[in-house]
């Protein structure tokens, strides 16, 4: 199964719509609730990152019997130093974003913790692609 969602940079009122849709699909597929929770945390953080940092993005979700593969591709500033971005507490979020309670530097660490495999590729000035794989068994 394949699903695709669009994410609009800067539009916080829509943040979470893809996560919510994927959660409903996984519930319908009777995936273990603990696994759904991990996927939802990782996807929500990825979605918020696109809203907070990028101009726009696409979320591509592939589900088979063994795993869920989520690819989040954005057009945005990119990440110059991925190791630094992975550090808990490091953030480049704006003051306005931080005031909303985002941008605490916990997003990527939350994603790492809640996925089985994570790949990040980034091109500064162009965008970032996250690939997250979680096994369903």
């Amino acid at each position: 199964m394949e699903f695709r969602y669009e994410v609009e940079g800067g539009n916080f009122s829509r943040a979470g719509h893809a996560s919510s849709a994927v959660k409903k699909i996984l519930k319908q597929l009777n995936v273990d609730n603990r696994i759904i929770k991990r996927i939802v945390v990782a996807l929500y953080e990825g979605e918020v990152n696109v809203v907070a940092h990028a101009h726009k993005g696409n979320i591509l979700v592939y589900i088979d019997e063994q795993k869920i593969n989520i690819k989040i591709e954005d057009e945005g500033p990119g990440i110059p130093d991925i190791d630094l971005a992975m550090q808990a507490g490091y953030s480049t979020a704006s003051a306005a974003v931080r005031e909303m309670g985002f941008g605490a530097g916990m997003g990527l660490p939350n994603i790492k913790k809640n996925t089985d495999e994570l790949k990040i590729a980034s091109d500064v000035g162009k965008g970032t692609t996250l690939e997250m794989i979680t096994y369903l068994q």
Partner: protein, 111 residues
């Protein structure tokens, strides 16, 4: 304890999400950082915060929280209220500060 009992015992205001008042409470969490709540709460927790924007409902719904309590007499945004009604997650309010409301709730949950 159900959310309804907590509302009564702590004198909380119910802004919206009345259909979730029968939710059972499994614990509580205090934070104003959304990623912290995403990463560290479990279902049926009550979340106490000063954030009032719509994204708190997205987090509460994804994490299947029992309810949100907005502290210090702050008012939730209109679209936060609308989302709370759609999701059936109660949005509650108190004039108390976070320290006081969380202390009271902790006391109730541990007695």
């Amino acid at each position: 304890m159900k959310v309804r009992d907590m509302v009564q015992k702590l004198g909380l205001k119910v802004f919206s999400g009345e259909s979730g008042l029968e939710n059972e409470i499994a614990g509580g969490y205090v934070s104003d950082l959304l990623s912290d709540v995403m990463g560290n709460t479990d279902e049926n927790f009550v979340w106490m915060t000063l954030q009032t924007h719509k994204n708190i409902m997205a987090v509460a719904s994804l994490k299947e929280l029992a309810a949100i309590i907005i502290v210090k007499g702050l008012q939730p945004d209109e679209d936060t209220i609308a989302h709370s009604n759609e999701e059936g997650v109660p949005l509650l309010g108190t004039d108390m500060e976070t320290f006081e409301i969380s202390g009271k709730l902790y006391g109730f949950l541990n007695n």
